[in-house]
């Protein structure tokens, strides 16, 4: 087929070369998977198929998310929000599992499916949500990198410049599998929040009590409570994760036979990310106990500085490093999510298996968005604090239409066949859409009518 196309025009020849490059790289990875399956080595098989789910979940434990969890711990201590965050990760798993099925069943990215099945009108609206959400989130990742750098004495242009360089350099790996493993190494450092939490000498009984009773909830329902609840939902389920994981599943080459491993690695990602999120709350709970006002803190390292006298300099340094890592990993995954969606929308090459010539639009979108986001952070006087707090709220609001499109696609028997959603998946998915829409509506009401909750 490639040779036939090549005879038609130079454009077709170019397509043929790109297709062959991509097919060969993906086929090489698939060959290894098939050999491992034949050899009946389940753990090695799981290792080979691990990546998209783990990176989506740990990528979402990003700069603004860690600030949200830190603000939660410092404002409410160990209580209601510990089981609440656990619940949000159950939600995240339910959502992301659908993307694994969609990717394995159709071998097409999320943006591509929305355009194909719903047409350009709904496609461009979904893309507008994604572009705005991703760009704003990417800016906040560089805020985290910059603030992390400042904690260690690096000037903003240096840390932001190095951060942008690492993100762009990761794209130069030119193989999906290599990129994935490189980002996974960085993502493992998300667990730095666990030793940081141990330095806070957590009360195990209080943690268990909070998990069992969803209490205490200091101050009851208030604007701050609703904003934090929204920010914590936005810290766990966001549109970029849907687009990223489905495209990564396709780029990695997962098939229907790989669904069990795809589900396990997504669940594993959710568990690891939930542990890091709860560890962040536990690590910052001493600020709540000491009555420190964190409302003017700009970023994670501000929390680290405030924590130093309470949990010691080692704990605080681990915390600051964790926030820096969170920003860096998320910058890599969000950039890739934007690039996948851009390539799929323009029907241009969209794979990390392509070289720069064949995937210039794909890599171009990633590089331009990285440089733009890094540039915004370096603007003197940019409202970094307000942006960081607002980004997760925006992500939550945009999640409702994104989830509806996901549910419709997952129910589409023409493309999904027997892998279409069952009644249980629809019940969970529908409940999540209603819950997210309701929390967003309550947020709108309490912002417009601040006296509504009586405080």
């Amino acid at each position: 087929m490639g040779q036939d196309l090549a005879q038609i025009s130079p454009l077709a020849e170019q397509f043929s070369r790109r297709a062959r490059l991509e097919d060969l790289a993906r086929g090489r990875d698939r060959h290894r998977v098939l050999e491992t399956r034949r050899a009946r080595r389940p753990l090695r098989l799981l290792w080979l198929l691990t990546g998209p789910g783990l990176l989506a979940m740990l990528g979402e434990n990003d700069g603004p998310s860690m600030v949200s969890y830190a603000t939660t711990g410092a404002t409410y201590g160990v209580g209601f929000f510990v089981p609440f965050i656990l619940l949000t990760f159950v939600m995240a798993f339910a959502v992301q599992e659908m993307t694994v099925r969609l990717g394995a069943a159709t071998h097409r990215g999320h943006a591509e499916l929305i355009f194909a099945r719903f047409g350009p009108f709904w496609g461009y609206l979904a893309m507008a949500d994604l572009v705005v959400g991703n760009l704003l989130t990417l800016v906040t990742e560089f805020i985290a990198i910059q603030a992390g750098g400042l904690y260690f004495g690096a000037p903003a242009p240096v840390s932001v410049g190095i951060g942008a360089l690492v993100v762009i350099a990761s794209l130069a790996l030119r193989r999906y599998a290599t990129w994935e493993r490189a980002v996974m190494i960085f993502a493992a450092f998300n667990l730095l929040f666990v030793p940081a939490a141990l330095f806070a000498h957590p009360d195990g009984a209080a943690l268990a009590r909070a998990l069992a009773t969803w209490r205490p909830l200091q101050g009851g329902f208030s604007v701050a409570f609703v904003t934090l609840a929204m920010a914590n939902i936005g810290a766990t389920v966001t549109p970029w994760m849907i687009f990223f994981q489905q495209s990564a599943v396709v780029d990695k080459g997962l098939t229907v036979a790989d669904l069990p491993q795809g589900r396990i690695e997504t669940a594993l990602g959710a568990v690891v990310a939930a542990v890091a999120a709860i560890a962040t709350i536990v690590a910052t709970a001493p600020l709540f106990a000491a009555g420190i006002d964190v409302s003017k803190f700009v970023s994670g390292p501000d929390f680290a500085s405030a924590l130093r006298p309470l949990i010691g300099s080692t704990g605080a340094t681990l915390f600051a490093l964790g926030v820096l890592e969170a920003g860096l990993v998320a910058a890599m995954t969000i950039t890739t999510s934007s690039a996948y969606a851009f390539g799929e929308t323009l029907r241009a090459g969209h794979s990390l298996n392509l070289d720069f010539t064949e995937g210039r639009l794909f890599y171009g979108a990633a590089i331009v968005s990285t440089l733009a986001a890094a540039g915004v952070v370096l603007i003197p006087g940019a409202p970094l604090l307000a942006m960081t707090l607002t980004v997760n709220v925006i992500a939550t609001l945009m999640m409702a239409p994104a989830l509806l499109l996901l549910l419709l696609l997952a129910n589409d028997r023409e493309i999904m066949g027997r892998l279409a959603n069952g009644r249980f998946a629809n019940l969970i998915g529908g409940t999540i859409v209603v819950a997210i829409t309701a929390v967003g509506a309550i947020y709108g009401l309490v912002v417009v009518f601040p006296g509504l909750l009586g405080n």
């Binding site: 790109r18 097409r108 719903f118 945009m398 239409p401 829409t437 709108g444």
Partner: protein, 62 residues
Amino acid sequence: MSDQSRWLEALEPDQFVAATETPLPRRKLSRGVLVLLIALRIYVFITAPIVVYAFVRALLTP
């Protein structure tokens, strides 16, 4: 058989780039689905300015 042939054989037929270039047919949206899509779009258009308002208010608060 060469390595490259073996690798290409490991791919399912609909995994080849050429196969994924085939356009999928457009889905016919029912009235109920359209109402839901439009309702959530209106929801975003109403709530987004509220977030912008809250953002600006946070900036102006000393």
